[in-house]
């Protein structure tokens, strides 16, 4: 019990601590491919520290929604982090939630952030909220479908259950359905983490931004909370990607050695995903907002092919 | 007793001729009608206690006649009560002079007399004479306003009804011809005798006789496509008379068809005449539908609704099962009460707004705090919405249709009724709701008529959820009039 709790806390901590680093790695990689030097990989940590020292400015028109949003956002990401299996299949709180809950925790965070975007009354925030909710709406089914394919295969929506069923399935699991679902989910992950070609995480040009628009009014400590939460969300999505589709290497017991091995493998895997993401980002241009549905629709159809192949080809 | 019943209206009619004071006339009519109701109820009590009332060879009253008799008497009383205020209003605004009031009462009581005569006579020939008499008695009442439209209506009424009913005379004649060799001259048109000897009559002639009688009396009932006089007459007559026409005259005419039907089905089996009646019923409901949907005259709307309801009763009689007949006569009671009070309401409304056009009547709920809600209730009731009585009887009729496995035709009727409901609710909501036009003053015209409307709506509401034991008993007895001969 205590041990499980300790492992749970460890997994959470790992996520929280590693998340800014991953952001740094992605930025660095992007810089590399853009033949820039780029900031250091630890830059996000410095940024956070810097934000913490700054004064928070809150709009006079904003309500309490604006103030609580960073807390709720970060808290729900932390809660999600407590549930997702990271280095070990079993997490302390795995009975508390399943993949549906995780996605809806993201929704909770998004809901408040979108409200906060509207709260200050500035047009930019509203634009960000509006676009965010639209993109989220169409990415949601595309996000869910591949996960559901996996869940149906495993017979449960519990993440630990899914992970275990993939591991126990041996080589047989690497089917068309499996791969298609992975590809589909990967495409959605681009949208969910707010990256090119859907969104540009580095822009502050009002007309192109989605996610940044909502956060435009935030400053100081509030901004710190939000940025760390956003990178946690990104890491969590990558975690889902790797641990659901390629869980091999994850610790199935709570031995110290297995945990250390699991942690290393996990870091390796998400870093790889991060690098791939950075490559994708540098090789595409940002699309128009109204082209985004096409992309996500494509992802949905790939997921659908995965689902259909699962039942039609039984593979 | 039956003689008193016949003598009373005749007496009042003659008395009215001698009086010219409006108030006195009203008093005579109310007192007389009250006495008529008493007599009718006494007769009904005797009949429903188990023995039919017979006087000589010409008068027989069984459960069926007694039921309609009571309806005629009761609605007659209500009309008498309502007429007082209605006529007073019309005289006040100069629609007609006071001297004509006595003619109104004269013809009205002649009308009541002829209806009673039709109901009590044992002889189908005399019944025919009486039914034709109702046309003649009401023709001048329909044209009472002496305006272009009312005269036109009266003219169409008398011509079409006379032509129609003359075919019924031919039907009666054929029946007579078929029967005379069996029964001899005296009993040849006596419906009791005819039912007994029906099996010995020539079926071919009976068929012909029934067809003529159905078309003839059907004209009077307002079965489509012989209904054409009905909307004109009902809309142009003074509202109390419309109430009487719609509420009871149609029932009396229907009664005549039923008498023929009973004789004929005895001989030919129930199929032939039932199916014909059923077809006419369905056609009537269908024909009423489009006119109700786009109607713009409140009284015509009610008139078409009468066609519809006569169609429903016809359908129920066509179904012919005990349950259906129960529903048919319950429906007859419900329709008579609801429709007559609706005509009173329409009378109030048209007098208050000086128009019968639905589109020009607005905000009734506000301008007429009693009549408005009453229109709402009455309209919903007549359209077949629960918890009002007509829903109950329609439900019974429909279920008996389904219980016979006639899914298609019963579903069709149900759909037609539903669409008719649409038309009604549209019209009612147009009139009841909204902001009243400024020219119309707020407030009811007379307390008396309103109380009457409310009283007559009481059974409409009550019968929807609760049918008193005695009504149930009466209806059972009426249905045995049908079933009794068959089984």
């Amino acid at each position: 019990m205590l041990r499980e709790a300790a492992v749970g806390a460890y997994q959470m901590l790992l996520i929280v601590l590693f998340a800014p680093l991953l952001t740094g790695i992605i930025k660095k990689t992007k810089a590399f491919f853009q033949t820039r030097k780029g900031p250091r990989v630890f830059q996000p940590y410095y940024d956070l520290y810097k934000y913490m020292q700054k004064e928070s400015v809150v709009s006079e028109h904003a309500s309490w929604i604006f103030r609580v949003t960073p807390h709720i956002y970060l808290a729900s990401m932390l809660t999600a982090a407590a549930i997702v299996p990271v280095v070990a299949t079993k997490s302390f709180l795995d009975f508390t939630g399943d993949l549906i809950l995780i996605i809806y925790l993201f929704a909770l965070a998004r809901f408040f952030l979108a409200l906060a975007g509207l709260d200050a009354g500035s047009a930019f925030g509203g634009m960000g909220s509006s676009r965010e909710m639209a993109v989220a709406a169409i990415s949601e089914p595309a996000f869910m479908l591949p996960l559901f394919t996996m869940a149906v295969a495993a017979g449960t929506t519990n993440l630990t259950g899914i992970v275990e069923s993939v591991i126990n399935g041996g080589e047989g699991v690497l089917t068309l359905a499996h791969l298609m679902s992975f590809v589909a989910l990967f495409i959605v992950a681009v949208a969910e983490t707010g990256r090119i070609p859907v969104d540009n995480p580095d822009t502050h040009l009002e007309l192109t931004m989605i996610h940044e628009g909502m956060m435009l009014e935030y400053s100081g400590k509030n901004l710190a909370l939000l940025s760390v939460a956003v990178s946690i969300k990104q890491l969590l999505i990558f975690t889902l990607l790797v641990n659901i589709f390629f869980p091999w290497g994850i610790a199935s017991a709570f031995g110290i050695g297995a945990l250390i091995f699991g942690s290393l493998v996990f870091i390796l895997k998400v870093t790889v995903i991060g690098i791939i993401m950075a490559i994708v980002e540098t090789s595409f241009a940002k699309t128009r907002l109204f082209k985004v549905p096409d992309l996500l629709l494509g992802s949905f159809f790939i997921g659908l092919i995965g689902l259909v192949s699962k039942f039609v080809f039984r593979g | 007793m039956p003689l008193i019943l016949l003598a009373l209206p005749l007496g009042i009619a003659l008395l009215s001729m001698m009086v010219s004071n409006r108030r006195l006339l009203g008093a005579i009519s109310i007192v007389g009608s009250g006495m008529t109701v008493l007599t009718a109820l006494l007769i009904a009590r005797q009949v429903f206690a188990g023995s039919s009332v017979v006087w000589g060879q010409f008068i027989v009253i069984d459960a069926l006649s007694a039921l309609i008799l009571c309806l005629v008497a009761i609605i007659g009383l209500m009309v008498a009560l309502y007429s007082v205020g209605y006529l007073a209003h019309d005289i006040r605004i100069g629609e007609f002079s006071e001297t004509r009031v006595k003619w109104y009462y004269f013809w009205m009581y002649i009308f009541v007399f002829t209806m009673f005569l039709a109901l009590v006579s044992a002889n189908l020939g005399i019944m025919w004479v009486a039914v034709e008499g109702t046309t003649l008695a009401t023709a001048l009442l329909v044209g009472f306003y002496n305006k272009k439209n009312s005269l036109e209506a009266a003219w169409k009424y008398i011509i079409i009804c006379t032509v129609g009913i003359i075919f019924a005379l031919f039907g009666t004649l054929l029946l007579h011809y078929a029967a005379v060799s069996v029964t001899g001259e005296s009993g040849s048109l006596d419906w009791q005798t005819l039912r007994q000897v029906a099996e010995r009559l020539d079926p071919m002639l009976l068929k012909l006789a029934f067809i003529f009688a159905l078309v003839g009396f059907g004209t009077k009932v307002g079965l489509a496509p012989m209904h054409t006089w009905l909307p004109d007459a009902h809309s142009q007559a003074p509202s109390p008379i419309s109430a009487m026409l719609s509420g009871v005259l149609l029932n009396c005419a229907f009664y005549s068809i039923v008498r023929f039907h009973l004789v004929v089905s005895e001989s030919l089996g129930p199929q032939f005449s039932s199916n014909l009646i059923l077809i006419f019923g369905v056609v009537s409901i269908s024909v009423a539908l489009p006119f109700i949907l786009i109607q713009h005259d409140i009284k015509r709307l009610l008139a078409y609704s009468s066609i519809e309801h006569m169609g429903i009763i016809a359908v129920a009689v066509g179904f012919g099962s005990k349950f259906a007949l129960y529903g048919a006569f319950l429906h007859m009671i419900n329709h008579a009460l609801t429709k007559s009070s609706l005509f009173f309401i329409a009378g109030n409304v048209s007098q208050h707004y000086h128009t019968k056009r639905i589109l020009r009547i607005k905000g009734l709920l506000k301008t007429m705090p009693v009549t408005g809600p009453a229109l709402m209730i009455g309209g919903l009731a007549i359209a077949g919405a629960p918890p009002f009585s007509i829903f109950t009887s329609e439900f019974i009729i429909l279920s008996s249709g389904f219980a016979q496995g006639r899914y298609a035709v019963t579903s069709l009727i149900l759909i037609l009724i539903t669409l008719i409901f649409t038309g009604f609710i549209y019209a009612i909501s147009k009139m009841a709701f909204g902001t009243p036009p400024s020219r119309v003053k707020v407030g009811e015209d007379g307390k008396f008529g309103n109380a009457l409307i409310l009283i007559s709506l009481v059974p409409v509401v009550v019968f929807g959820v609760y049918i008193p034991g005695f009504i149930e008993d009466i209806l059972q007895q009426v249905t045995t009039v049908f079933i009794g001969g068959n089984q």
């Binding site: 020292q53 508390t96 989220a136 | 496509p225």
Partner: protein, 683 residues
């Protein structure tokens, strides 16, 4: 003092009738009338709230036989578990709405007849309670129609407005046509099963029905109840009628009146028809998915707050039907244990929808009360002016968007589980594929609902007021807040402790699916666990909203501590919104129309957006003085499905009037022709 359940039931119905009469009689003294009317309604709801759960937990049924009969059919009320559950649902919302109405109805004093409102309000609750308790089809139809009529009167309560009358007309027509289907279905049932009117007796004999007849009845029932429930495309009355009614009534209409249709549907399909072919469930699933998706999409385009909520009713009915549909599929397969999840999901969502939609409608009513407008474009900044209303509305918004830890999530989660259960079922690839796709559709629905409520809440309550009306808004009276608060706390309670409701549901599913023991894992205070059948774990999925909430709170606390303890500045500075250096005005805010624009464009195939730009020039074509932009969407179903039919019918009816063209010769020839035809054919 021990009170028998029977007398409680009679008291419940009786006090509603009394309340109806009293509030009408006392209409000359509006304050007393309001007090009397809603006190009796509250009392009745309170007794219903005691009665329902008591009967459910003690697993007892109740029969009350009226002392008279109509054509030989005994009139009786029966309260079985399903009924008891619906009594509970009705009472919960009835209580809150009644408390709310104390304050709300005051707004009508001097403008409308509050006595009449009280009369119909009480009768409305009465008819719904009586409807779900009716034990035979005649009474069912009777109360069904009374309910329709009373609600019609409530819809047209403010009948001075032309649009209200039109909405009422469409409503009553649609619902009456729906009823016609029901009557046909019931009467076929009546004949085919050998002339019983009692639901309980149907159940026994319905197995002898031919499969075709069963399916015919099923279709009729689906159409009939579907019209009332507002399934697409029979929903068109709903977004018109709900906004037209007073808000306390809209809450009841949307929250519970639609649910009576769900009640009837479950009563007939599960209670009477029983096992049916697979396509029944498939049909219901597709109807559910389409209703859910289109409902929420149209809601997004709606800027009348009550119209928006009304479209969300369509959506939520769809979600309920997704649960019920999957249950139907499992029933046809014989897997009653799996069916139980679907049914529980459907019924749970029924309850939840009643709670949060009731809350939202009451909130909308409160906002309307304070601002005298329903157009959300004219609101804004209300959270500061009406903090409690705003808070409750926020809770409602989160709940309806199915976001944890509120109740909407709990039931939608169960619906997800039942849909994914289809994916694992052994019913062929078609069903297997359908399950996850429908689940994805549900996910889309949820996300769109969230978008919609971000729009609704954000535009209504946040930022600067967009009009003088909103500027002058004040918090509503306390009774209204209590009414909303009650529902808001239930939203939270059922979200965190779903077993409160699910425990009540187990006798219901047990009675309908004849699954004797409840094996749905431990429905304890912690978790919803999926089922265990015959010892094998079919799916060990669980969530525990309580623990999740605890973790969430803990994390939030932690974050808060970090936030306050670290850093140089302890306080935040209040300053202007950054707006490229220009002072912020309400004109700069994002509007609801612009908020929903991306979605309008993305789903243009469905919305068919229209835009109209009018320009006025100072000097053509270079200097414009004014640009007027008008955007909208095409009402697809009205344009294609209803209006042409309606026109056609009217045209046809007009054509028929030549029959009565006034010529007496023509009339005579009808008689002539009839006679000749009869002589020829009937001889």
């Amino acid at each position: 003092m021990p009170v028998s359940a029977e007398s409680l039931f009679v008291f419940m119905l009786g006090s509603l009738l009394l309340g109806a009469i009293l509030s009408y009689v006392l209409q000359k003294k509006p304050h007393i009338s309001i007090f009397m009317g809603y006190s009796f309604a509250s009392m009745a709801s309170l007794s219903g709230l005691i009665l329902g759960p008591t009967l459910l937990l003690s697993e007892r049924s109740l029969e009350i036989i009226l002392p008279w009969s109509i054509f030989g059919t005994a009139l009786q009320f029966t309260v079985d578990p399903l009924t008891a559950f619906f009594i509970t649902v009705i009472s919960v919302l009835g209580l809150s709405a009644s408390v709310f109405s104390y304050g709300y109805a005051r707004a009508y004093i001097g403008k409308q007849n509050v006595g009449l409102l009280g009369l119909f309000y009480n009768l409305f609750i009465f008819s719904m309670l009586a409807l779900v308790s009716s034990s035979n089809t005649f009474m069912f139809l009777l109360f069904w129609e009374i309910m329709s009529l009373v609600s019609y009167f409530l819809v047209v309560f403010e009948h001075q407005d032309y649009r209200v009358r039109r909405a009422g007309f469409i409503y009553i027509v649609m619902t009456h046509i729906g009823t016609a289907f029901l009557i046909i279905a019931f009467l076929i049932l009546y004949n085919e099963t050998g002339s019983y009117l009692l639901f309980s007796q149907y159940a026994g004999v319905s197995q002898s029905l031919s499969p075709t007849m069963k399916s015919v009845i099923f279709i009729l029932v689906t159409l009939g109840f579907g019209t009332k429930a507002g399934i697409v495309p029979l929903h068109i009355w709903l977004p018109k009628a709900h906004p037209a009614a007073p808000s306390n009534v809209s809450a009841l209409m949307s929250g519970i009146m639609l649910k009576t249709a769900i009640y009837g549907f479950i009563r007939i399909t599960f209670g009477v028809l029983g096992t049916g072919p697979l396509w029944w469930g498939g049909l219901i699933l597709i109807i559910g998915a389409v209703s859910a998706l289109l409902g929420v999409m149209y809601a997004l385009m709606e800027h009348d707050i009550k119209g928006l909520l009304a479209y969300h009713s369509v959506e939520n009915i769809g979600i309920i039907l997704l649960g019920i549909g999957s249950a139907l599929i499992f029933v046809s397969d014989g897997s009653h244990h799996l069916a139980m999840i679907g049914l529980t999901a459907g019924l749970f969502h029924t309850f939840n929808h009643a709670v949060f939609k009731g809350l939202l409608f009451l909130g909308a009513g409160a906002v309307h009360y304070a601002t005298h407008t329903r157009d959300i474009e004219e609101m804004g900044g209300l959270l500061k002016r009406m903090p409690w209303t705003g808070f409750f509305f926020l809770i409602g918004s989160i709940s309806i968007s199915a976001i944890p830890p509120f109740n909407g999530f709990a039931s939608e989660w169960m619906t997800f589980q039942s849909l994914l259960g289809l994916g694992t079922a052994n019913l062929g690839a078609g069903i297997n594929i359908m399950g996850p796709i429908l689940a994805a559709a549900l996910a889309l629905t949820g996300a769109l609902a969230a978008a919609c409520f971000v729009k609704a809440f954000g535009i209504m309550f946040l930022a600067l007021p967009r009009s003088a009306k909103a500027e002058k808004a004040k918090e509503v009276p306390r009774t209204m807040l209590v009414g909303m608060g009650l529902l808001a706390s239930l939203c939270f309670l059922f979200g965190v402790v779903p077993s409160l409701v699910i425990d009540l549901l187990s006798p219901v599913t047990a009675s309908l699916l004849s699954v004797v023991t409840i094996q749905m894992g431990g429905y304890d205070w912690l978790a919803i666990t999926s089922i265990i059948e015959q010892g094998t774990v079919l799916g060990a999925t669980s969530i525990s909203p309580v623990i999740m909430l605890a973790v969430l709170m803990l994390c939030a606390l932690l974050v808060y501590l970090i936030f306050t303890r670290f850093g140089k500045f302890r306080k935040t500075r209040i300053d202007e919104t950054w707006n490229c250096g220009v002072a912020q005005t309400s004109n700069m805010e994002y509007t609801a129309t612009s908020f929903s624009k991306p979605i309008r464009i993305m789903f243009r195939a469905i919305f068919r957006p229209t835009r109209k730009i009018e320009k006025e020039y100072v000097l053509k074509p270079y200097f414009t003085s004014r640009i007027k932009y008008k955007g909208g969407i095409k009402p697809f179903f009205e344009d294609t499905l209803y209006r042409p039919q309606f026109r056609f019918f009217l045209k046809l009816a007009n054509k028929f009037t030549v029959l009565q063209s006034g010529s007496i010769q023509l009339y005579l020839s009808y008689i002539f022709v009839t006679l000749v035809v009869l002589l020829i054919f009937a001889r």
